[in-house]
């Protein structure tokens, strides 16, 4: 291994992935505004650039030059740390997300992922669980009533839905027999089928849980304007507010990428077991990954434009009395079937 392989290439990959994510996040905001506008027979942003294409740039400049206010009675250190704590986990998760297999690039074997640790999936879950601190601390440090209420709501919601989501991930781990993200895609290639078709229930719970974990409609109670003014980031302005905003969209991209990897074969083409569809391999592997993830991002927006917000007790009832029991049942059945199949030599 030369210095280029061990140091330069990983560093380059990190720079590319981080920048691509941040650009994707800003354009995600534009996409959301456009799609929701179309859903409501409006045009959406049209002024900056052709069809509003430069709107994210204008937004970014606006947020950066806005006055950055810290409330007098705020807990200064924690108030500053909270946006950072919610942004960082959303970004470092990309370290283990595989965008494609190893490919030859300029005569060199390059893996289209930053690293493939053998506890990849657990890494994602644990990093995501740290992200909740950003929300709790933002509410606490603002020293203001509405943000505190919103942050308590948000953290109760995140903790509740984390249980259901993690249980569905265990079903996937039982199927694939590995915690490595690359290994899970390889297992789907080997099985010749995307796990969404074997584990539709697990996928459904994962996606609903994902909506709740990212505080998206119909579970966007933490920022319910009618009840809580602006939610846990009411007291934030300028770039610090922007960090919360970016973290929310970065988390949406994370959920989409993880859903793609675990349930929709990651970089695999559709029907990887049917040789007659081999002509589809002309599309590069990372392109499949991006297309699938984009579909999920679109669904996120589509759901927001379609469904009204849940009430808080409905949200909790759905999480604890419907999703968690279903996830446990799914887990037990998956385990039994798997043991029987392994016993039969499958």
């Amino acid at each position: 291994m030369s210095a280029v392989d061990t140091f330069f290439i990983p560093l380059l990959k990190i720079v590319i992935v981080l920048n691509a994510t941040l650009v994707a996040v800003t354009y995600m905001v534009l996409l959301e505004r456009k799609v929701i506008a179309w859903a409501q027979s409006r045009l959406g942003p049209m002024r900056v650039g052709p069809y509003g294409a430069l709107q994210p740039v204008a937004d970014a400049i606006k947020l950066m030059i806005k006055e950055d206010i810290t409330p007098v009675k705020a807990d200064k250190w924690v108030f500053t740390a909270a946006p950072i704590i919610s942004m960082v986990p959303a970004l470092i998760v990309y370290a283990v997300i595989p965008f494609g297999p190893e490919v030859s690039l300029f005569g060199r074997k390059v893996a289209l992922y930053i690293t493939d640790v053998n506890v990849g999936l657990l890494y994602i879950v644990s990093v995501a669980s740290v992200g909740v601190y950003g929300i709790i601390l933002a509410g606490y440090a603002s020293n203001s009533k509405y943000p505190l209420l919103a942050s308590l709501r948000a953290s109760a919601q995140l903790i509740s839905y984390e249980v259901a989501v993690t249980l569905t991930l265990v079903s996937v781990i039982i199927m694939s027999g590995t915690l490595s993200m690359v290994g899970i895609v390889r297992a789907q290639e080997h099985a010749g089928v995307w796990y969404a078709f074997i584990q539709p229930l697990a996928f459904g719970i994962f996606f609903i849980g994902g909506l709740a974990e990212t505080n998206r409609a119909p579970f966007d109670l933490p920022e319910a304007e009618q009840e809580l003014t602006g939610g846990f980031h009411t007291e934030y302005s300028g770039m610090r507010f922007a960090l919360f905003f970016l973290a929310e969209y970065a988390n949406m991209i994370v959920v989409s990428s993880v859903a793609t990897t675990l349930f929709f074969g990651g970089w695999l083409r559709p029907f990887p077991n049917i040789a007659a569809l081999g002509f589809l391999d002309i599309v590069p592997s990372w392109m499949w990954f991006l297309v699938k993830s984009f579909v999920f991002l679109y669904i996120f927006i589509w759901v927001r434009a379609t469904l009204p917000r849940y009430r808080y007790d409905q949200l909790m009832r759905l999480g604890w009395k419907v999703l968690i029991p279903l996830a446990i049942a799914n887990l037990v059945i998956t385990g039994i079937v798997r043991v029987v199949m392994l016993g039969a030599g499958g």
Binding site: D75, W77, V78, A81, V117, N118, V119, L122, Y123, V125, S126, V127, A128, S129, V130, V132, Y133, I136, L137, Y140, L148, L152, S155, I159, L179
Partner: protein
């Protein structure tokens, strides 16, 4: 060499944050230092080649248990400094006594493990038919340590039922 440097740097952070946990006045800050401390302990596990333990450390302690601590601390609102004890010297004596006891215990454990470096675990590790950190931990939990593992889960179940009974007066 690099590993030794990493170990000492990480250990310095672990100890430093541990001191911050007990010396800060603000309870919420103290809990936050505890989270940082747990993250650096996880880094120590990575250094010991057990990534599974490292991510579980973050998931269970930093991401789970301490979040609940934070809830409690935030809700009871300890902004007001606690009232001083009638006899501050009694508290100091008690604390010193407890600290001495813990130190003695740790010394005994360290001495015992130094004289006989855990042969039992080393022997079972060689017999494990699976490779990979996660698989090995799972194998050990479900073979050599099955009964302690099951007892631990029973304890958690009992605690959970207890909490429900206490919280709901009328079931």
């Amino acid at each position: 060499m690099a590993e030794a440097i990493a170990f000492y740097v990480i250990s310095a952070f672990v100890l430093g944050f541990a001191i911050m946990v007990v010396s800060t006045r603000d309870t919420v800050h103290s809990v936050l230092f505890l989270v940082l401390d747990f993250l650096f302990v996880a880094a120590l596990y990575v250094l010991l080649n057990s990534p599974f333990l490292a991510v579980i450390q973050i998931l269970v302690y930093a991401g789970g248990i301490v979040v609940l601590y934070l809830f409690v601390v935030m809700l009871v609102n300890l902004k007001r400094p606690p009232e001083a004890h009638q006899d501050p010297h009694r508290r100091t004596k008690l604390g010193l006594g407890l600290a001495a006891a813990v130190l003695l215990e740790l010394g005994a454990i360290a001495g015992a493990s130094y004289s006989s470096p855990a042969p039992a675990v080393a022997a079972t590790a060689a017999n494990i038919p699976v490779t990979g950190n996660t698989e090995q931990v799972g194998w050990l939990l479900y073979t050599s340590y099955l009964i302690p593992f099951e007892i631990a889960s029973m304890l958690l179940l009992v605690a959970m039922i207890g909490a429900i009974v206490l919280a709901k007066r009328e079931l």
